[in-house]
Symmetry: C2
Subunit: 192 residues, 2 copies
DNA sequence: CATGAATGTGAACACGTGTACACTTTAGGC
DNA sequence: GCCTAAAGTGTACACGTGTTCACATTCATG
């Protein structure tokens, strides 16, 4: 698995690397691959699963819902950015395969993102600031927030690790999220 | 070029299809490929160029800056969505290669998006509603808007063409953009 | 209509690919 | 310390790959 991640990180994407190259990178003979996965698709799906399993755990442990809304934006952006940096290869893989992968992979990633969006909507619902927002609109807003955070991680992965210009990226994302939350204050859900 | 687009649309992505398969799809012998492009990279870059050239033209012709801000959101979302649907294969290609493509391709796409963002920022600056926003913040806002529209097109491409549930997607994107613009009303640029 | 450029052809090359199969090595629980 | 399941090995096959080169065809324009 790690060999595959390394190759995908330095090459274009998963479909561009072969079973034999992965095996070579892992220091193992090609046929040994089959001892662990039925085929390349299975490997890819496992990598995606792993990524989101641990991401869900991080986000769950953080218990964001019990924080004051003030400062939550900065905190969660930093938490997320930290996690992305710590799992660079894994996230690079997911970002690349989100649109370029197999249908199975794309669906898996999509489903996980939907789950994250739902979780965020549920968290936001607990804040007074969102009490005037309808259920549907809560999901629309969460969707926008999730997309903004995804874009942030794509960008963090695009600059090289020790460049440290991530700060500018994070500040921009924070600004955008604050802007969104400002809009929420004036928002009126027709069917609230 | 069209043969390549068809294959990429039905397969995973560009790096997964071979020169020989493109030639076969085009009804031509493999070596004939070299009469038109130096290699596959050149083909890919040309496709990206073409996509954005015509997109820039559409957006330029629309002269959005001369419209009232009211109704502009709905109009531009519809214009954009229409264009994406009319150039489904082209956009599918760009979306897939945005992160999974060659470095050259990725850079080309990235640069084009930056151009679009700058153009939007310049357009927004003409509206009274944005007169209290600093130059930098204008770019941050435009960035958020562009990302939201990109996400919309990714989703339009994900549902099959004659499904006609695009409307729901467009409504969501419109809501999100209106939310952003609501935030702008309360936004205060510190260095305005 | 002729001529020259643009486009398409076919054979050949060296090499990378996924996977099957029988075999050997490694490691952990009784 | 043995023995069994897991992991790794080496060989072999049929096939797809990019690119080369000399040759054939098409087509526009003088």
């Amino acid at each position: 698995m790690h060999a595959a991640l390394e190759l995908v990180s330095s090459e274009a994407n998963f479909s561009a690397i072969s079973l034999r190259r992965i095996a070579r990178q892992a220091g193992v003979v090609p046929t040994a691959f089959y001892r662990h996965f039925e085929d390349l698709d299975a490997l890819g799906l496992t990598l995606i699963e792993d990524t989101f399993r641990s991401l869900r755990q991080i986000l769950g442990d953080a218990a964001l819902a019990s924080m004051p809304l003030k400062g939550l934006v900065r905190y969660s952006v930093e938490l997320f950015a930290h996690y992305v940096r710590d799992n660079r290869l894994l996230f690079q893989f997911v970002v690349k395969e989100r649109f370029a992968g197999t249908v199975a992979m794309r669906e898996a990633i999509h489903n996980e993102i939907v789950l994250l969006t739902n979780a965020l909507a549920a968290d936001l619902a607990r804040f007074d600031e969102f009490s005037h927002i309808s259920q549907d609109d809560l999901r629309v807003i969460s969707d926008l927030v999730v997309n903004t955070v995804i874009t942030l991680s794509e960008r963090i992965l695009d600059v090289d690790p020790d460049n440290a210009e991530d700060d500018a990226l994070m500040l921009r994302a924070e600004k955008q999220l604050r802007l969104i939350f400002m809009g929420v204050g004036r928002w009126e859900s027709r069917s609230a």
